[in-house]
């Protein structure tokens, strides 16, 4: 049996967890500053930490791509634009434990030889922004950041930057454009941000949880971190359970835990109901069903079953939920958030939405199922960035697992589900 491993969530129940007093003395950052920066990068490589923002790219390797001795300024940008539907881990983390992020920023910036770091937080969470602003202020006052960090010769400025409402800015190059004061649209890669990122200088863009995990690696060692999780998906991560589950919430566990184990801890599916479908890592990851309860939630195992670990955003839906309605809603989201830069995504999501609306109303035909998968074929792999690819995940996976449910809609000329039964109060 896998058990929970609170590290980042460990102090969240303290009333002052968001202050220095409730966090600690930045001892990991102090010891990091006494290290050779390359040794820090090596330690993070050895730990096996992979990006916690969804893609799972090895964090230490990303840092290693920053050219050293190039005479250019280097930048660290924290991607705190958490907006993937279902994903709700970075927001409570920054609200309850912002100092873990700031300590991670110090270590990371020092390792990649950056003197400027930005924390780009989505704008729609003002109290989280206040908490991070206050924590940064506290760190400045203590001399943990600013001129001469911890009395060393190392300088680091941290800027907390609020976004303004655009899911696409979670894509790292769109985020950089947004941070430079432009519309948040993705850039052509290569060059990758490690070579030409913010202001065309070498830049590391990392997710909040990735950076916040770094102090624990420095403090406890790469082996400690690598001792948790699976062979290729090491360490712990926050699993976010939401939807038709008895006790939704944040569960910090080693990668490789299963939904069955998590549901046991969370009191199971809400009383009197059963699991129908779920996302392993947000709406951009193909849906799973009750066949997948025992799939280890690590990058490789979830991938082998045709989905992606993503952000470990486990959105749970029981048998009262119409999968066509769910897919339509996600599709409307992608159409709304498509930045318009590339045609497959801009036009494709628009047309998917039109056809799905028809299908949900029971006015479609079986040909429409071919149409939506054809449209998806023209988005997947043909879009400028991963937003378009993500939009196709609910389409393919819902048709694959629930074709009959689509058919049922136009057999009876409407939706066979009563949405009232799926609500929180409808179950009572």
């Amino acid at each position: 049996m896998t058990t929970l491993t609170p590290v980042l969530t460990k102090n969240w129940d303290l009333p002052n967890s968001f202050t220095l007093e409730g966090y600690g003395d930045y001892s990991a950052a102090r010891s990091a500053l006494a290290m050779d920066p390359d040794a820090i990068i090596q330690a993070v490589k050895d730990s096996g930490l992979r990006g916690r923002g969804g893609a799972g790219f090895p964090t230490g390797m990303k840092w290693g791509f920053i050219p050293q001795g190039d005479g250019k300024p280097h930048y660290l940008v924290v991607n705190a634009d958490e907006s993937e539907p279902g994903t709700c881990k970075d927001i409570p983390l920054m609200m309850a434990n912002p100092h873990s992020l700031i300590e991670g920023v110090i270590i990371t910036a020092f390792a990649i030889r950056a003197n400027y770091a930005f924390i780009y937080i989505r704008g729609e969470v003002v109290h989280v922004i206040r908490r991070v602003q206050a924590a940064v202020r506290e760190a400045y006052e203590k001399g943990y950041i600013g001129r001469g960090v911890f009395g060393s010769g190392y300088d680091l400025e941290i800027v907390v930057h609020s976004g303004a409402g655009a899911y696409i800015c979670g894509e790292e190059t769109a985020l950089l454009d947004s941070l430079e004061g432009f519309r948040g649209q993705p850039r052509l890669k290569p060059p990758f941000p490690a070579v030409a990122g913010l202001y065309a200088a070498p830049t590391v863009v990392n997710n909040v949880e990735s950076i916040a995990s770094v102090p624990s690696i420095v403090a406890n060692g790469a082996e400690w971190f690598a001792g948790m999780g699976t062979e290729k998906s090491k360490g712990f991560g926050i699993f976010s359970l939401s939807g038709h589950v008895t006790r939704p919430g944040q569960y910090e566990a080693p990668l490789g835990i299963t939904l069955r184990e998590l549901l046991d801890m969370a009191g199971g599916i809400r009383e009197g109901h059963r699991l129908k479908f779920w996302t392993p890592g947000g709406s951009s990851t193909p849906i799973f069903t009750d066949e997948h309860l025992d799939v280890p939630l690590d990058f490789e195992s979830v991938g082998a079953k045709g989905s992606m670990l993503g952000t470990r955003a486990l959105q749970i839906f029981d048998e009262t939920t119409c999968v066509v309605r769910a897919t339509l809603r996600w599709t409307e989201f992608y159409a709304h958030e498509s930045c318009g830069k590339c045609t497959p995504c801009r036009e494709g999501t628009f047309w998917l939405k039109q056809v799905l609306k028809r299908l949900e109303k029971g006015q479609g035909t079986e040909d429409d199922l071919t149409t939506i998968t054809d449209i998806a074929d023209n988005i997947l792999g043909r879009s400028f960035c991963a937003l378009g690819d993500g939009a196709t995940s609910p389409i393919y996976s819902s048709v694959q697992h629930f074709r009959d449910e689509y058919l049922k809609h136009f057999e009876i000329g409407g939706c066979p589900f009563d949405p009232a039964l799926a609500t929180v109060w409808g179950a009572k």
């Binding site: 929970l4 491993t5 609170p6 969530t9 460990k10 969240w12 303290l14 009333p15 968001f18 409730g22 907006s83 539907p85 279902g86 994903t87 970075d90 409570p92 609200m95 309850a96 704008g123 729609e124 969470v125 003002v126 109290h127 206040r130 800027v159 930057h161 609020s162 976004g163 303004a164 409402g165 655009a166 430079e180 004061g181 432009f182 948040g184 712990f236 699993f239 976010s240 359970l241 939401s242 939807g243 006790r247 939704p248 919430g249 944040q250 569960y251 910090e252 566990a253 709406s283 959105q315 839906f317 996600w330 989201f333 709304h336 958030e337 949405p419 799926a422 609500t423 929180v424 409808g426």
Partner: protein
């Protein structure tokens, strides 16, 4: 329309402080647009002109950016801007019903404001609080675990001027303009208020403690 000299002088001081944080001035554009909303409640014509002047951009460049982001309002938001999450999970858990009843109750739709200017409504996408579904936001503060009844009561209270407190946030609710100022990078003094975490955020930790589970030493 332009700002009066007094307003202009005050905004310029704020703008210079914000611009000074960035290695390149244009990075301050999004914060400055939030600053404009803290003055006008929306990205006014005068405000966008002001941003352009402060950053040495054309007004078209500023408008090209402001129209891209949903948090910048093209017409005045209410003093209390109310969002109802209608992304899949919240919608299924009751957000759709909340939206329908709230829109009917107030007589306004998406991105519209009540005639008294107190409340505006928006259908919002996922706000990263799915474990508290159905979720609403007022001036970008969390109002978790809503029902149609609680939502209507909330809006009635806001319109009547009764005190309303977020579920995870400070002890008082800021106006849309006050909130916009914080978003521009000029903090208020409310960070210390409210819980560290609450409810579902603590569920895993609670279970770990009850079972004596810890990360390896």
């Amino acid at each position: 329309m332009t700002y009066s000299p007094e307003v202009r002088e005050r905004l310029e001081l704020d703008a210079k402080e914000i611009i000074g944080k960035y290695p390149k001035a244009r990075s301050a554009l999004l914060p400055l647009l939030h600053l404009v909303q803290s003055e006008d409640g929306y990205v006014s014509d005068a405000g966008q002109e002001f941003c352009a002047e402060m950053l040495g951009l054309s007004k078209a460049e500023v408008v090209g950016v402001s129209t891209f982001y949903t948090m910048y309002k093209r017409k005045p938001a209410g003093d209390y801007h109310v969002g109802v999450c209608i992304n899949t999970l919240c919608a299924v858990m009751g957000g759709d019903q909340i939206w329908e009843e709230l829109s009917e109750h107030t007589g306004i739709g998406h991105e519209e404001a009540t005639s008294d200017g107190k409340v505006s409504l928006e259908r919002i996408e996922c706000n990263a609080a799915c474990d508290f579904a159905p979720v609403m936001m007022v001036n970008w503060e969390f109002f978790d675990n809503q029902t149609p009844e609680s939502a209507k009561q909330l809006v009635d209270d806001l319109r009547a001027g009764k005190p309303v407190v977020p579920t995870r946030g400070p002890g008082r609710l800021c106006t849309f303009k006050e909130t916009s100022r914080v978003l521009s990078g000029l903090p208020d003094e409310l960070a210390g208020e409210g819980p560290s975490a609450a409810g579902p955020s603590l569920e895993g930790l609670r279970i770990a403690k009850a079972n004596g589970w810890e990360a390896p030493k």
